[in-house]
Structure formats: C-alpha cells, structure tokens
C-alpha cells in the first residue's frame, strides 16, 4: 500500500514538474515551427477590427499588425510569417490567449494594472476614454447625470467596473456584445450606453440615422489600448514592440491612423496633441 502511494505521489510530482517544461515553448519558437501568427481580434468593432461590406476582415488594429508586427516577427524568426485571425470577445480573449489558441490579442483591449498580472501588453497603440452614447436631446450630459438611470455597458469592459465603483446609484445592465447593448438603447431598455469614446463614435457612424445619437461627457476613464500576449514571453514582446516602435518612429503609424480616423474616414476621430505626445513618448520622442 505504502509503495503504491509513493508511486502515485512520485507520478504526481513528475507531472507537475514536467507540465511547464512541455508548455513553455516560446511564442516565437511556435511561430517559427508553424509559420503562422494567430491573433485574436474583433468582427464588430469598427474601425479597429470588423468585417466590412465586402466581407473582408479589416481595421486599424489589423493594419498595424499586418504592416508592422508581422514583418518584425518575420525578421525575428527568419522566415515569412502568415497571419491568421480568430474572433475574440472581451470575455473570451484572456482564456484564448492562455490556452495558446491565439498568440496575440489585437483588438480593442485596454491595458490595465489588473490585467498586467495575467498578460503582458505591447506599447500603447491607441488612446481613448469612456464616454456615453445617448439619444439626441437626452437630459444626460455627463456621468454626473446618471444617478438612478439605467446604463448599458459591455461585459468584461473596464468602464463597467468604473461605473460600478464610482457611481453605485446607476442601474448597470451589462451585455455580452455591442449590438445587444445598442439595441437596448434603441428600444429604451436603458437611458445611455457607456463604452470607450471611439467605440461610441463608431456605433453612431454605423447607426441607420447617425444624427439621432450623441456622444456626451468628458473621458471619465483612461483607456490606453495595447496588444496582449502571454505573460513572461520577453522575446515575443520585444518583437511585437519593435514593430510598433518602428511604426511610430518612422511616422507610418500616423498614415495608418489617418486612413481609419482621418477627416475622410467613416469614423473621424482627430488625434489630440496630448495623445500624440503620449504615443511618441513611448519611443522616446
């Protein structure tokens, strides 16, 4: 009996010791072996990542990955790398990453201290803050008008957390995705929908009658978007950051920004000088 127990214990210990050794193949090694970089991104978050009318999966974040991150990784592994895209929503993105289903989350994920405990973030590639979307003519002008009101938010988003903590009088309704939350706003289930400002401008632009909707209030949170990767993979992070750094230093980043957020784009979102300074400071400029 004792022998059997010892054996079982030994096996258990062996499994625990061996498991990380097997799982710890670096992301770059994996990409080198497979020739594929798999990103988790969005299908319904224009203009960052969405499926357009021609049924192409495109967007600002996807452009950044294709034009800067993929070349940088290709250089690092010494062979051309193919890009593969998978759908990832806020509730699924971290599990997708930790289970190795994707290598990089490139969508609209905010870089927060809590998330940094589980994943690593790239350089910030976009900067926004939470605002409110309301029906045109609504009495709600900022977060301070929300007491007692019904407010929709997206499950897993950082701004839901802020509303809950700082404005406990608000009746918060959390929906799994943007279309459901917007539907609730359209039908009057909620009085306002809160999300990152840029998301709301995107929704307004896509709405059947954009003039029916207003984006109101100052940023009540800071939302720096980063690309997330598995924690502790310094080599992979360096390769991703090198790509973004090159984009910012060369100024090509701003061309891509202009394409998606410029005056002629579908969702004009001019970059403020503060945001520009913030982005460039990351590369020491």
């Amino acid at each position: 009996m004792k022998k059997v127990l010892t054996l079982v214990l030994l096996l258990a210990v062996a499994a625990v010791v061996a498991a990380p050794a097997v799982a710890q193949e670096g992301t770059l090694d994996k990409i080198k072996r497979t020739g594929v970089l798999t990103i988790g991104t969005r299908t319904g978050s224009p203009p960052f990542a969405y499926v357009d009318k021609q049924n192409n999966w495109v967007g600002f974040t996807i452009d950044l990955v294709e034009q800067f991150v993929v070349p940088s990784i290709s250089k690092e592994v010494g062979k051309p790398v193919k890009l593969e895209k998978k759908e990832s929503t806020p509730p699924t993105r971290i599990p997708l990453l930790t289970s190795n289903a994707v290598d990089l989350i490139a969508g609209t994920m905010t870089d927060t201290p809590q998330r940094r405990e589980s994943v690593d973030f790239s350089l910030t590639f976009f900067y926004t803050g939470a605002q409110l979307l309301v029906k045109h003519g609504s009495p709600i002008k900022s977060v301070n008008d929300l007491a007692g009101k019904r407010v929709a938010a997206q499950q897993g988003a950082t701004n839901a957390k802020i509303i809950r903590e700082k404005f406990p009088q608000v009746q918060l309704r959390e929906f799994p995705d943007q279309p459901a939350a917007f539907q609730a706003l359209v039908q009057g289930q909620v009085d306002a929908y809160t999300n990152d400002g840029i998301q709301l401008y995107g929704l307004k632009a896509k709405a059947p009658k954009p003039d029916d909707w207003d984006v109101v209030g100052d940023f009540y949170s800071e939302e720096p978007y980063g690309m997330a990767m598995r924690k502790g993979d310094a080599k992979f992070k360096a390769a991703v950051d090198a790509g973004l750094k090159q984009a910012l230093e060369s100024g090509k980043y701003f061309d891509v920004y202009e394409k998606w957020f410029g005056a002629k784009s579908e969702v004009p979102y001019p970059m403020t000088p503060q945001v520009k300074t913030y982005l460039l400071k990351q590369v020491g400029k």
Binding site: P90, P91, I94, P95, T98, Q114, R115, E117, S118, V119, R150, A152, Q155, G156, A157, T158, A160, K161, Q171, R173, E174, F175, P176, A180, Q183, A184, Q187, G188, Q189, V190
Partner: protein, 231 residues
C-alpha cells in the same frame, strides 16, 4: 482566494440569482409541461392542436432566441409607461424567467406525454366507466400515476433548466456565469473563476439529482417501477 472578499460576494450573488431564476422557471415549466402534456392526450382535437403548436413552436427555436424575444421583442408591444416601469424593476430577470420556463415547459410536456401514454388506455376507460369526467380522470387517476413514472426524465430536464439559466447573461441578468466572467474581468484570473463556477454548477446539479432520486423512491408505486438498487 476566490471565496473571500469581493469575488466571493459576487459568486454568492450570482448563485442566488441562478437559484431564483431556475426555481421560478421550474415551477412555471412544470405547470406548463403538465398542462400541455395532458392536453396532447385528451380526446378533444382542438385542445390537442393547441398543445402540439405550443410544444413544436417553443422547443424548436433556440433558447437564446427566446431570451432576446422576451427581452427585446415583447416590451415594445406594451405602453411606454409600463415599459419604463418594467425596465426599472428587473425586466431582464422576468424576461429570462419566461424564456426559460416556456422553453423548458415545452420539453417537459413531451416527457409527461410519454408518461401518460405509458399508462394502459384501459385505465382511462375504466375511470370514465365509473362515472368520472375527463378532468377528474386526469386529476385523480392518470396524472398521479404518470408523474410518478417520469421522475428520471424530469430530473434530466430540471438539470438542463438549471444549466440553461446561464444563457440569461446575454440579456444582462447577473447570474452565476455572468459573475464568473465579471471576476475574470476584474482579476484576469479566468481559470480560477471558471473552475469556481463549474464546481458550483456541479454541486447544484448533484443536489437536484439526489433530491429527485429520493422523491422517486419515496413515491414509487410498488410493482410499477422496480428499482434494482431500491432500498
């Protein structure tokens, strides 16, 4: 560490919501199930047709669609004032409860119908022969026997109902699965939160299965159900 502080509190709240939602939906579903199941076997065609329509319509549309239907589809039919009142008083919860109950009721009714059909036709005929009306025959003879026979498949449906209640998170009901995701958002500890949620569902389901097992033994009609392991 998930059982303490904020996360533990959320799990508990989620658990309570899941239990409330499931319990209310179960009561309504059993009622609808018995009603529709019985109506499908009565000797009166229009009533049978109504029951067939209910069952086929509701069980053949995905639960998710029903959730959206009760939450997004029904309120616009009501006057504006009623809508506002509802939205301020937990419309999501009641929409989810109805969706779950009506959907599960349709599934349960098939189980109940099977139970009724397993009773020899002669019992019904004998009841009518001793002067009972159809209603009395069902209430006093057919249903009491049928309900005893169908405990095992009903256990199955009840467990499904509990687990299906997680679909309510799509219309913003803060039930157990919603809370595990919430914990994941705040702490980014996805695996721990999922494990906690899974364990709670498992324990709940085992409890239900045990209770139903007891019920089955307690009300078994000697000779009708013979359990090898009865005792």
């Amino acid at each position: 560490m998930l059982w303490s502080g904020q996360s533990g509190n959320w799990l508990l709240q989620g658990l309570i919501t899941t239990l409330e939602l499931s319990a209310l939906a179960w009561l309504l579903a059993v009622f609808l199930g018995i009603l529709a199941g019985a109506l499908r076997t009565v000797p009166f065609a229009p009533l049978r047709a109504i029951a067939v329509f209910y069952v086929e319509f509701f069980r053949n549309v995905p639960l998710l669609v029903w959730m959206f239907f009760w939450y997004f589809g029904v309120p616009p039919l009501l006057p504006r004032g009623v809508q506002d009142w509802l939205f301020n008083h937990g419309a999501e919860f009641w929409a989810a409860m109805f969706a779950l109950a009506v959907y599960t009721g349709a599934r349960m009714s098939e189980v109940i119908r099977a139970g009724i059909l397993s009773i020899p036709r002669t019992q019904f005929e004998a009841s009518v022969a001793i002067g009972l009306t159809t209603w009395q025959a069902y209430r006093l003879i057919i249903l009491p026997v049928a309900l005893r026979l169908i405990v095992p498949p009903m256990t199955n449906e009840s467990l499904n109902l509990l687990k299906n209640s997680s679909v309510a998170l799509t219309i913003s009901v803060a039930e157990l699965t919603f809370q595990t995701r919430q914990i994941e958002t705040y702490t980014a500890k996805a695996i721990e939160a999922l494990t906690a949620g899974t364990l709670i569902y498992l324990v709940l389901c085992l409890c239900i299965a045990t209770v139903m097992g007891r019920l089955e033994r307690r009300f078994a009609i000697p000779g009708l159900i013979s359990r090898v392991d009865a005792g």
